[in-house]
């Protein structure tokens, strides 16, 4: 509106044509942008906002602060070298009693227990045995008597570390790291250090599936690109039908095929190859087979389009210059498919990294990928900080790979444009 009004006003004062054109163009651009804005606002509400909220939860740390406010305040100036002073003990005793009265102690206990196993029982036993407010000057003595843990510096540094309002605790935990009593970042105790394994497993499964897709997809894409269009369109149905078939249907189909009295085992037994049914599902093998099946079309399609763009004249030229077929393939054909290989592999790898449904249904306990743990901590144990931190790490990996993918595909489009 404003832009249109301005153009009208300027036209009356006879501004040069060039400027008027420029203004008209600017109005057009604003109109174009206005068409995009509804979607941007919508995505802000249904996508970006929620994800930003999740990232915030990965560092948000206000539970202890809300439940034990006086203790947090008393510990603010504590240097963490020796045990805190009497004032901190008195604050804690008062906080615990207040929290018990309002029923909020469990919130702080849950958070502190994440950082130090057994903190829940320290707090509950203290609360149970703390009958009255300790007389002035005797808080330290009283608490020490109730639970010897209050004589440990670690107990207090745990509270101080969890004082918020923000923390790196969950992010460190997601990488199997923790802070020791002196505040240095060290490896987490072995019984809590599982996430590096989970990340390594997620990467390994994704990488394996990507390689399988590439090995299986390359000849298919080559065949589809080499055949005349009529026939390749027909064969393309074999790629597109699974692509369009529901993920649940395909996962279900693999269970039917691979279970111990399933089609595959029965056929093998009937053929006399095996006597006992093989364990083909609810293990790593099943996960890799089902995921490869689901993701293979995502490899074949980019490979196909990159191969389709390669002119057969190059291979003919190589042959006429005396290159043996293998040399021509390796030196002429393969390098030209590299953008397709890169794009397909990255796409499959990115999609595989975030997989949840297929491993959840056909994998065993040792095959669950990072998404499973994010879901578990969100819905089952309600450890939202850790779920968010694991999500943040997965998101970071995805974004980095997606940026590389973006660059690669963009480059491909440029070269594709030049060839046409």
């Amino acid at each position: 509106m404003t832009a249109a009004f301005l153009t009208g006003a300027d036209a009356e004062t006879k501004v040069p044509l060039k400027r008027r054109l420029k203004q008209a163009e600017r109005a057009r651009q604003l109109k174009a942008l206005a068409l995009v804005v509804p979607l941007l606002l919508f995505l802000l509400f249904t996508f970006a906002g929620p994800i930003a909220g999740m990232l915030w939860r990965a560092v948000d740390d206000r539970e202890v602060r809300q439940v034990l406010p006086q203790t947090v305040a008393a510990l603010a100036n504590w240097d963490g070298k020796d045990l805190p002073d009497e004032k901190a003990y008195a604050a804690l005793a008062s906080d615990i009693q207040a929290a018990r009265a309002s029923g909020t102690l469990a919130i702080a206990a849950k958070r502190l227990n994440y950082a130090l196993n057994g903190f829940r029982s320290i707090l509950t036993s203290t609360a149970r045995n703390l009958k009255t407010v300790p007389a002035p000057g005797t808080a330290k003595e009283t608490l020490d008597k109730i639970n010897p843990a209050w004589r440990e510096r670690t107990t207090w540094t745990t509270i101080k570390d969890a004082s918020g309002p923000v923390t790196g605790f969950y992010l460190l935990a997601a990488l199997d790291l923790t802070r020791n009593a002196d505040g240095a970042i060290v490896a987490a105790p072995p019984d809590q250090a599982i996430y590096r394994d989970v990340f390594a497993r997620t990467f390994l499964i994704s990488l394996g599936v990507t390689l399988l897709c590439l090995i299986l997809g390359f000849p298919v894409a080559y065949l589809l690109a080499a055949l005349p269009p009529g026939r390749s369109n027909l064969l393309m149905i074999f790629v597109l039908l699974p692509f369009w078939t529901s993920l649940l249907v395909r996962t279900c189909a693999w269970i039917v095929l691979l279970q111990s009295n399933g089609v595959v085992n029965d056929s093998l037994r009937w053929l006399g190859i095996i006597d006992e049914p093989l364990r083909l599902i609810y293990n790593r093998f099943g996960v890799c087979v089902a995921m490869t099946h689901v993701l293979l079309p995502f490899m074949i399609l980019p490979l196909y389009s990159s191969m389709k763009a390669i002119s057969p004249a190059y291979m003919r030229a190589a042959a006429s210059l005396g290159a043996p077929p293998l040399t021509a393939f390796l030196r002429i054909y393969l390098p030209q498919t590299l953008p397709g290989i890169g794009a397909g592999s990255l796409l499959v790898f990115i999609l595989a990294l975030g997989y949840y449904i297929t491993p959840a249904l056909v994998g065993g306990a040792a095959d669950q990928m990072i998404s499973y743990f994010i879901a578990l901590y969100t819905t089952e144990t309600a450890n939202w900080g850790l779920a968010s931190a694991l999500g943040a790490v997965l998101l970071l990996a995805t974004i980095l790979l997606a940026l590389v993918y973006g660059k690669l595909v963009q480059g491909q489009q440029v070269t594709g444009g030049m060839k046409n």
Binding site: L35, V36, V220, P242, T245, L247, G262, M315, Y355, A402
Partner: protein
């Protein structure tokens, strides 16, 4: 035809034969599981094994007479259609805008618009779960429709955007010079030409919502369970032939969508061919 048929050397012939053999095996790998599950849904027995003891429609009967399955089918349709309509409006507007917008921020905006496709489903689901729960949008149809729309809109932007790329803007200018209002020009000139693109966008959007399960898993209450969600719990608990009947129904929907899409593509190619 192609130069593969004029293979010169024996080694080339071997390589070509190997390609055909491997590809055939991969095609079997891709299609066999989907085909294998179909006959089981017509089995008269209750085990998912071959050979079938006999043929019957009892599992389809089971599906149709189960309020749980029918409710999930109804939910899938409601949520699918609603999020398709919403994503069509938002996505088409954005695609029209992006086609005209020239700015160095355009790649950034485009990346943002397309990002719901790339971000792992669990992350979107967890974010939405935290975000929608306090405002009462979890366990509601509206929440699921909004979430599915966010996932489906990128496909609309891509397909409609691709159609607009081959659209000759001179036609719109011609309409304007002949006195058509922008809205009239859109309705009578632009819309008919980009209609195939809109249709495939709608199909993609519907398929995205119809197949989505992670977000439903986090956000749906018992009332809003969709067909994939019902299948998920069915597979977890124990696979009954009713699930295979549901799978056949879902696959039929996919085949219809795919066939429609292929028809649109052919029509489009024919139109392009005739204009040249």
């Amino acid at each position: 035809m192609s130069d593969n048929l004029s293979l010169r050397t024996p080694s080339q012939r071997i390589a070509w034969t190997a390609t055909i053999v491997i590809s055939t095996l991969v095609f079997i790998f891709l299609i066999a599981p989907i085909l294998a599950i179909m006959p089981l849904s017509f089995s008269s027995g209750s085990y998912l094994t071959y050979p079938l003891p006999g043929l019957s429609l009892r599992w389809y009967d089971d599906f149709i007479n189960s309020p749980r399955w029918m409710n999930s089918l109804k939910n899938s349709m409601i949520i699918g259609v609603a999020s398709t309509l919403l994503s069509m409006v938002l996505g088409t507007l954005a695609a029209l805008g992006l086609a005209q917008w020239k700015s160095r921020f355009k790649p950034l905006v485009l990346a943002f618009v397309l990002s719901p496709v790339v971000v792992p489903g669990v992350i979107t689901a967890v974010g939405l779960y935290f975000f929608f729960a306090p405002i009462g949008l979890t366990g509601s149809y509206l929440g699921l429709i909004l979430a599915h729309t966010a996932l489906a809109t990128p496909f609309v932007v891509i397909t409609v955007g691709a159609t607009l790329q081959s659209f000759d803007t001179n036609l719109a200018r011609a309409a304007a010079s002949l006195g058509a209002s922008p809205l009239y020009a859109f309705r009578r000139v632009i819309l008919p030409l980009i209609l195939p693109g809109l249709a495939s966008g709608a199909l993609f959007a519907f398929a995205t919502s119809f197949d989505e399960v992670v977000i439903v898993l986090f956000m749906a209450g018992p009332e809003q369970r969709t067909l994939p969600r019902e299948m998920f719990s069915g597979i977890r608990e124990n696979i009954s032939p009713t699930i295979t009947a549901a799978a056949v129904i879902l696959t039929t929907v996919s085949v219809i969508l795919l066939a429609t899409l292929e028809g649109l593509r052919r029509r489009n190619e024919r139109l392009k061919g005739s204009s040249n």
